[in-house]
Amino acid sequence: MHRRLSPSGRLTIAALSFVGLASCTDPSTIDTTPHPPDPIDHNLEDCAASAEWIPDTPEMKDSNALFLPAPHPSTECPFYRSAWQTFLVGTKPDAQGEPAIKSFAVIDDLFKKYTPLAPDALAPPGTPRGTSKRAWLGDIKQAGGRQILIDQNGHTLYYGIHVNQTFVDFVKLHGLDSAKAVQDANPNLFFTAGVAEYKTAWQEIDPIPPATDVAPNDERLATFISTKAWVPTLSQGKDAFGNNTILEDRDHPRLITVRLLAIHSVIALPGHPEFIWGSMEHTNADLTKGETDGRAADGHRDIAPVVPEDPVTGELVNPTKDDANNARNTTIVSDLNFPLYHAGTPANVGNKPPVEKDLVFDPATQRFTDPTQYSSIYRMFPASKSNTVDPDDAVTTLNHNVEAIFKDKAPMDKRSHYRLVGAQWMDKPFFFDTNRALLNDESSPLLQNPDKYPQLNQADGPESRNAVLSAGGDTPFNLGIADIAANGSDSAFSMLAGEDRMSSTAMESFTQDPASFFNCFSCHNTLAVTAKGVPFDGPIGDPEGTRLLEPKRINVSHVFSEIILEECTAPENIKLIPGTQGHIATCP
């Protein structure tokens, strides 16, 4: 949080800091840049980790972690902690060394199918998912544009959606165990505290000939959470328009070795049914060598590079307003190869999806064979924030403090090789309701009526907005927009908190730019959902898409829209919505 403070506030902070610093870690010790902190920022948030998290991470509900954190201007630390702890719970190694999420329920486990799977297609509940008759991972086409990411080895990534037992219980309790039941669900049903889901991005690791399997001690797995996974067999077929398309056969999977590149860890807290959306990614920082990685700029994130410094100023940069998608940024992002980036690719060439119909695919090797089609992805917003390139102090210090615990208690634990990119939640959950876009755009009630809402369920009262509005000189809407542009999610006009330009380079690779689906709530809101996993309505909606679910509070999770996509989008289930270009999928 980097909100500018009033003079009286600074004095208060200064007084508190004198006391606080005596007992706190000095955050400047983990800042390796030559820039000393501004004197007024000595109140940097030092976000603590909990020693109890490692190695045997307790469930959130068992460690006093399910509570409603205080809103702005209090610390955002508890939100980030929830993301970290949820990650640690989901990736905790079991007795066989497998990450916990490998045994977590997936969509196949949650819902009855119209055509039931073979009786032995699913492994017994609570055991590692995936069998020779049903893939565990898949869904290779990313949400947003349904585009395919291809790594530097010519493989696509394989994605997983996993849910905790509380999510399973929620589905059972409310009878949401079929696609039809989901479509008929009460639109006002909301997720309860403790419900968690994960989205994972896994990279295939090839055996090194003449070996036919990847050795457990392969150095490519050394720092990664890895496992054997049943993934769909891919093929090239034709879509409804006769174009080439990549098909996934989940019922005839193949067993491969995969390593975890990135993961979203997402949990609902009391008062936050919109979920706290955390995102983690791999780091190569070696704690045993004294390396540290609190933020992307530390240079250890190794699945994709960060947009480079401006060659003139030497400073990291966000996309500019007049070049929002870096179309004129010809800077080489990196001279190094990354799993998702090809060395030497300029910024304006990166983050471009391949054209699916033109993909050259070899079914025998399950590999895309034209290297010019391989993806070159980079992180477009260095700190995942719209208004600054400096990450939130709470994120940086929390990463650092978790490092310290790993170093002390479990330096070889592979979870120590992942870091929190950021998180996102509603700063003003008062506005969470059915059929809401949950964005800081023209749909926001705070921008439509910025001088209203005195009863917000958070600490940004109307006074802080009125202070901006009283300056005058423009319409209230534009003043609000300008304040958000200056202060990002710390603006009193912002409905959202945390990293408002957060995308996973492995999962939302092609939708990072501000004209696309630039943060979690762009797609995970309570509007109607389409087959592309994006809203049907709203400012960035897809009104020509196929509507899978009507507006519902549970639409924040795409677990539900995914089962509709799988079960109810056969041609006989799709109908044109009269008077529109859009369609609707109806489950029988």
Binding site: R3, L5, S6, G9, I13, G20, C24, T25, D26, T29, I30, L44, E45, A48, A49, S50, A51, K61, N64, L66, F67, L68, P69, A70, P71, H72, P73, S74, T75, C77, R81, Q165, T166, D169, N188, F190, T192, A193, A268, P270, G271, H272, G290, E403, A404, I405, D408, M426, P429, F431, D433, P454, Q455, L456, N457, Q458, A459, G461, P462, E463
Partner: protein, 189 residues
């Protein structure tokens, strides 16, 4: 699982300080923002620029009134915070009509919204036979939660705060209180 009956059974003094007070924003309007660092626990700083080592699990501050934030009291017990918030919810949205003795509303008359023992007494009749006001561990089987979450409680004009329905966010706190903070936790697994 602790049971926080006392929070409501001691409702009279609580009402005196909380009744119909806005849950959050108004309490701090105009006050200077204060950012309190989370206690990082005991940290040994080697003093040589290397990574300090956290040696003790820190106490994470849970504010008993998020509206007051760092200026308010804290607890280390998540359910204590949730229970206080639930109590404030009932005071703010329900008490004006359902804690005023014989002047209370409802058919049958419901006057015990601030009395947890009465709320959880299955022999107390609600407008839905067989459904108690609150069944600990089961919000969806609790008439108070059903009516609040369905949005079927009428707006009234006696006090301004009750002219609005609670937000989904506030209702979710009430849900958590019934599900996990009244001595019986929602079944898991």
């Amino acid at each position: 699982m602790k049971q926080y009956a006392h929070l409501v059974l001691l409702g009279v003094p609580l009402v005196a300080s909380c009744m119909l007070q806005p849950l959050n924003s108004e309490a701090t309007a105009g006050s200077p923002p204060v950012i309190a660092p989370i206690d990082p626990g005991n940290v040994e700083d080697p003093g040589d620029g290397t990574t300090p080592i956290l040696t003790q699990t820190p106490v994470i501050q849970i504010f008993t009134d998020p509206g007051v934030g760092p200026e308010g009291d804290t607890t280390t017990d998540a359910c204590k915070q949730t229970s206080l918030q639930a109590s404030m919810f009932l005071n703010r949205y329900c008490a004006a009509c359902h804690a005023v003795g014989d002047m209370s509303s409802g058919v049958p008359k419901f006057k015990d919204v601030l009395d947890l023992s009465a709320l959880t007494d299955p022999t107390n009749q609600t407008d839905m036979p067989g459904v108690p006001f609150i069944m600990p561990g089961y919000p969806e089987k609790s008439r108070v939660f059903q009516r609040v979450s369905e949005g079927t409680m009428p707006k009234i004009n006696i006090v301004p705060e009750v002219t609005t329905h609670p937000s989904v966010s506030e209702i979710s706190v009430l849900e958590e209180w019934i599900a996990n903070c009244l001595g019986v936790s929602r079944p898991h697994g």
